[in-house]
């Protein structure tokens, strides 16, 4: 009797919140993709565009060429990664906000191309993309990248990223090939973003150019900062909270529209002001 009820409650819950959970997964992946570059001290606002590139690549492959989904996913990650690598060498000479703007400019150019190209379906977007993404795929990918990031920290790559983040000049003097490691971070980030974009396209039936503009790029940064950038699960926490927040507010009866938007902003502000290291500080006892 009771197990059946639980089962019922669970299916019920999943029916209502299933897609929310999937979005949390996808957004977490996107957040981690930025986390990789941030961990090497580089602020890239191009990751939303890399997600778009991945989404279009995979969508075109499955829609027009009937490529198996798993192959399309790999292709998406590789495509985003390859473009990131080509882009990375010139762009990563830039520092701080200049890098951010250059990557943003790249994102805008990608967005405008997607609007103007035939194969991407123009402004209406690419649709209908077959519905192939399942929750387990998203969360397997998330678990693997999370694990990878956790382990990476203590590897040669991880230490190099950290050194570059702290002081690039000193890092060079210690023998770290900063150009290479920065490009690596940028590329890994882009691959994860591309994968997430591909999964998202095959979850939503559609991908449109509007999905990866400026605000999407900034959203990824928000996930990271709200969650906390000191540990790999910070961005996941941030993505989870902020993705679920509108639903949570709905649950509390905050009416749709400007009020909910305002409350959303207010909560974001409170988290930033009162949790100096992001949500992770609620979970770790590592104080400063």
């Amino acid at each position: 009797m009771i197990p059946m009820d639980l089962n019922h409650i669970f299916t019920q819950f999943y029916a209502v919140y299933g897609s929310l959970i999937n979005f949390i997964g996808i957004n977490s992946l996107l957040a981690i993709s930025l986390y990789v570059t941030l961990s090497a001290g580089q602020l890239s606002l191009g990751n939303a565009a890399f997600a778009g590139i991945g989404g279009y690549t995979a969508g075109i492959l499955t829609m027009y060429l009937n490529v198996p989904y798993i192959v399309a996913l790999f292709a998406a990650a590789l495509m985003s990664g390859a473009i990131a690598m080509i882009l990375g060498f010139p762009v990563l000479r830039l520092r701080g906000v200049f890098l951010a703007i250059a990557t943003l400019a790249f994102g805008e150019v990608v967005r405008i191309l997607a609007i103007n190209l035939q194969i991407t379906g123009g402004a209406e977007g690419l649709t209908p993309i077959p519905d192939k993404t399942q929750a387990w795929m998203i969360f397997t990918a998330l678990a693997l990248t999370g694990y990878f990031m956790a382990v990476l920290r203590r590897s040669r790559i991880g230490w190099s990223f950290a050194s570059i983040r702290e002081d690039e000049t000193a890092a060079k003097a210690m023998g770290i090939n900063t150009t290479w490691y920065k490009t690596l971070a940028f590329t890994i980030g882009a691959m994860i973003a591309g994968l997430a974009g591909a999964m998202s396209a095959h979850l939503n039936y559609i991908i449109t150019p509007g999905e990866f503009g400026f605000s999407a790029a900034v959203q990824l940064l928000i996930f990271n900062i709200v969650g906390g950038t000191r540990v790999w699960y910070g961005p996941i926490l941030g993505a989870a909270l902020l993705t679920a927040l509108p639903e949570i507010l709905r649950g509390f009866g905050v009416t749709a529209g400007p009020v909910r938007m305002g409350v959303n902003g207010f909560i974001l502000l409170m988290v930033i002001l009162f949790l100096p290291n992001g949500l992770v500080s609620l979970f770790s006892h590592n104080k400063d």
């Binding site: 590897s155 040669r156 702290e166 003097a173 210690m174």
Partner: protein
């Protein structure tokens, strides 16, 4: 052939000639001092030697290889480590982490065993950490291992920088004012450390304005003034050199 050969280095900054044809060499195993008035070009030369900035013209050879056109990380990988006059640590890392980060060239941390969580990865981590702790101990910071670099005092930062450079186990160590901001007792400790390092076979080129430190520690000294070498030789000859006295040392009133 000397370990480090510096030939006709010129470095311009716009119209300003910071180095104007510098030639000298540093022998393997020696402690070589580089002194000269403020703005003489000492730090600029160090930047060129470590690959942080290219010379306008001239050559640098390290262990028989031309290095003046190499990027800093390649110069470092040949065995050249340095510290900075204006101290460049990894501020948010602890002292221990700073030194571990400095092991980039000496520690191998293969990715695969780590991804598979093999015990070998942990063992290596452990080993490197032990190394780092003993390096910290060499500069007298063993009990500050867990303190973030940004909360160290000035003198402690200087010592941590030396420790981080040592973690790369360089053949040639370039020090830019290693004892600035230290008192006599502390200066003695650093001098002792440098002697030991030289004894272990490391070659050291150091810039310093603390004359008792330079004169007692270095086997040879090169003096720069306005981007040119005005004297080079043993501490004795250099400190008696009239140009050096006039341009740099002055007449010591306190003694």
């Amino acid at each position: 052939m000397a370990l480090l050969e510096i030939r006709s280095i010129i470095r311009m900054f716009g119209g300003l000639c910071a180095l104007n044809g510098v030639d000298f060499s540093v022998e393997e195993g020696e402690i070589h001092g580089l002194i000269g008035p403020n703005g003489a070009g000492k730090t600029t030369l160090l930047n060129i030697l470590s690959g942080m900035a290219p010379p306008s013209s001239g050559q640098v050879q390290f262990a028989g290889r031309d290095i003046h056109a190499l990027p800093a990380y390649q110069v470092a990988s040949l065995g050249v480590a340095r510290t900075f006059q204006n101290i460049r640590l990894f501020p948010a890392m602890t002292c221990l982490e700073n030194v571990i980060a400095g092991q980039h060239l000496t520690a191998s941390r293969p990715l695969l065993p780590r991804l598979l969580q093999l015990p070998s990865a942990w063992r290596l981590d452990h080993e490197y950490e032990k190394d780092a702790r003993s390096t910290l101990a060499r500069v007298g910071l063993e009990n500050r291992a867990r303190v973030r670099a940004q909360s160290l005092s000035y003198g402690e930062r200087r010592r941590l920088e030396i420790a981080r450079a040592l973690a790369a186990r360089p053949r040639l160590l370039l020090l830019d004012e290693p004892v600035a901001g230290m008192r006599q007792g502390e200066v003695t400790q650093v001098a002792e450390l440098i002697r030991i390092l030289a004894g272990e076979g490391m070659t050291i080129l150091l810039i310093e304005h603390n004359m008792s430190f330079v004169m007692t520690l270095c086997s040879r000294i090169t003096v720069l003034n306005f981007g040119q070498v005005i004297a080079t030789g043993t501490p004795d000859t250099v400190s008696r050199h009239p140009h050096v006295i006039e341009a740099y040392l002055g007449v010591d009133k306190s003694s």
